[in-house]
């Protein structure tokens, strides 16, 4: 009995392996059929679409692909072309280079298999598109099309590159890993007019050869402040860069940035330092350190508000800092944003009145989703603090006559006040 059971078990185990083998083979056969089922190249019928507007009904799936390859690498993608016509269609893939931008992919890097075929009515054909980047290729990216037919979209004027209707769009990005790591690619800080600041940008050379650098301040301003393209708050004279000429293999060096903010500066400065790293794997826009400074000036004169009292009643003064709605003014690197405070005084008919701080309130703005990008929807149920406001309340006893409130705000670019008479 045991012997029979062993035999049955062995058959079952063998059967399972056979099933697995068969399962593996089926798609391979199907793929082989698709790839190898190439009929002799048939002449592709010249497009008559331009005259008739009736295009051959062909589906291409997927329609887009993106290869990111290092020199010497290759990658392939399978594209399915479905014939939705009631008759066979001849298809002959043609690689069309799109010469937009400076970088051009050599058409010989791209092969399409099969080179041509006839797809029966209602049938489909898989094409394998393979891109092989030579070892000596330079970095850059470019687009190309694989046009499966020569049918083009009619245009009233001749086009430099025909707009092929049955085309697969392929983007090829040739890259190499950068040898210089920029440890601080972004500096965002709040600066005060008339003061000086220092920042360190560390660069690490992970390669096996020394690499030259030549940091310079970017000449083109990226963008303006909240009110559009206004003159930047800092000029080139305000920013000094000190850097070594090269970074030895395996070493970490520091590019020093000194910012001397003119005493009359105000507004925003948004720019960048172009490190000019002599590493071909780093593209122009990658070898940069973005700068974003918000410059403000600490006022020296008090804000004055006059008011009058008709009777002897308590006076309550409430001063609140700007609510940085949106996002708190924390910094990318600097720690120059400080807690707002107020130097407040009150003068009445009897001279300077004693102004006692009765309470200080830290007020927050908490968001639970709101107007957020759609990819942050999963954070909608979680509390998110968006801004902090500091509110100081003072109180004194008032008497009839003229009163003067003086406020000198510090570390805030604006404030609200309220004067409550009585209560």
């Amino acid at each position: 009995m045991n012997k029979y059971a062993s035999i049955v078990a062995a058959i079952l185990v063998l059967g399972m392996f056979a099933g697995i083998e068969a399962g593996n083979i089926i798609p391979v056969q199907a793929q082989d059929t698709a790839v190898q089922g190439v009929s002799a190249p048939a002449p592709v019928t010249p497009a008559v679409a331009e005259q008739t507007g009736n295009f051959t009904k062909i589906d291409i799936s997927p329609q887009y692909g993106n290869f990111r390859l290092q020199p010497g690498e290759n990658k392939e993608i399978t594209v399915t072309v479905r014939n939705k016509e009631k008759k066979a269609v001849n298809v002959k893939p043609n690689t069309v280079i799109l010469p937009y931008g400076g970088y051009v992919v050599d058409p010989e890097w791209v092969t399409v298999t099969p080179g041509s075929t006839e797809i029966p009515a209602g049938g489909s054909q898989k094409f394998i598109i393979k891109a092989s980047v030579p070892k000596d290729a330079s970095i850059g990216n470019s687009g190309l099309q694989i046009a499966f037919t020569d049918e083009v979209m009619p245009t009233p004027y001749p086009q430099p590159i025909p707009n092929y209707i049955h085309a697969f769009q392929l983007s090829i990005d040739v890259w190499t890993p950068p040898k210089i790591q920029i440890m601080m690619p972004y500096i965002n800080d709040q600066l005060e007019a008339g003061k000086e600041y220092n920042y360190d940008i560390k660069l690490k050379n992970t390669g096996d050869q020394a690499i030259g650098i030549n940091p310079k301040l970017g000449s083109d301003m990226l963008y303006g402040g909240p009110y559009g393209m206004t003159a930047p708050a800092l000029t080139e004279d305000s920013i000094t860069i000190t850097a070594p000429q090269r970074i030895q293999a395996g070493a970490t060096e520091t590019v020093k940035l000194h910012v001397k903010v003119p005493s009359d500066a105000k507004g925003y400065y948004n720019g960048y330092i172009d490190l000019e790293i002599d590493d071909p794997s780093i593209r122009d826009w990658e070898g940069r350190v973005q700068l974003s400074f918000n410059i403000w000036k600490q006022p020296t004169e008090n804000f004055i508000k006059n008011f009058s009292l008709k009777e002897s009643v308590p006076i309550t003064i409430e001063i609140s800092s700007n609510n940085y709605y949106g996002y708190p003014p924390i910094n990318g690197q600097g720690t120059n944003a400080k807690v707002p405070s107020f130097d407040t005084s009150l003068e009445g008919p009897g001279g300077k009145a004693p102004l006692n701080v009765t309470k200080t309130v830290i007020k927050g703005n908490v968001n639970m989703g709101g107007d957020r990008p759609p990819w942050e929807i999963d954070s909608a149920s979680i509390y998110q603090e968006m801004g902090i406001q500091y509110v100081v309340t003072y109180r004194t006893n008032g008497s009839p006559g003229e009163w003067k409130l003086s406020v000198l705000p510090m570390n805030t670019q604006g404030f609200d006040y309220s004067i409550t008479i009585g209560g």
Binding site: N270, Q290, G332, S379, Q384
Partner: protein, 195 residues
């Protein structure tokens, strides 16, 4: 000869006894990942070990190790609500996960993942600002939020992989950190679009 056999058998029995006893005295292997250093519960529920086992497959730090993981549980109609707050040494920000546990399965119902090392956070901001559409739209010099977007969410907008969202007030860039590029830009009041 018989004595030698007895001694050998005796030694084997002793070794086996010690071995079995030692193995029985061992606790179950600790399934806590090595990148998670300290776990703290508030209101630890029954079956916490099973929940932890499921949680450790769901929590995913980004290029850091979690120093502390605080788990708080509360009962809700759909099961046990779990809030997980993870902190790390390399950042002052936290990763927050919300789960519901129905006794069998753990469902991630929300997340806010900001525990991103300083270097990668700034790198993402730099990539976002390198996009002209984003740079031109940033309305203040304030620092943006940088949040990790998990693959299940990312696949609706780009590809099923970890992405970073860099957001200023009303403007956000979705970053592919591997490819160092902006893959989507969102502006309040407008439809999102490709870079």
């Amino acid at each position: 000869m018989a004595t030698k056999i007895k001694i050998v058998i005796g030694l084997i029995v002793i070794i086996l006894t010690i071995g079995i006893g030692f193995s029985l005295s061992q606790k179950q292997p600790d399934v806590k990942p090595s990148w998670m250093h300290q776990v703290q519960w508030s209101d630890k529920p029954d079956g916490a070990a099973k929940i932890e086992e499921l949680l450790w497959t769901e929590l995913t730090p980004y290029k850091i190790e979690y120093e502390t993981v605080n788990i708080s549980a509360s009962t809700a109609s759909e099961g046990l609500r779990l809030k997980v707050i993870a902190t790390a040494k390399d950042t002052d920000k936290q990763d927050i996960y919300d789960f519901v546990y129905d006794g069998k399965e753990l469902l991630l119902t929300g997340y806010l993942l900001e525990a991103i090392p300083f270097q990668y956070r700034n790198e993402a901001i730099g990539i976002a600002l390198g996009n002209q559409k984003v740079a031109a739209s940033v309305s203040s010099a304030g620092a943006p939020t940088v949040r990790r977007i998990l693959p299940k969410t990312s696949e609706k907008f780009y590809a099923p992989k970890t992405l970073l969202s860099v957001t200023w007030g009303g403007v956000s860039a979705l970053i592919d950190p591997d490819e160092q590029k902006v893959v989507q830009v969102w502006k309040a009041g407008a439809q999102q679009g490709n870079k």
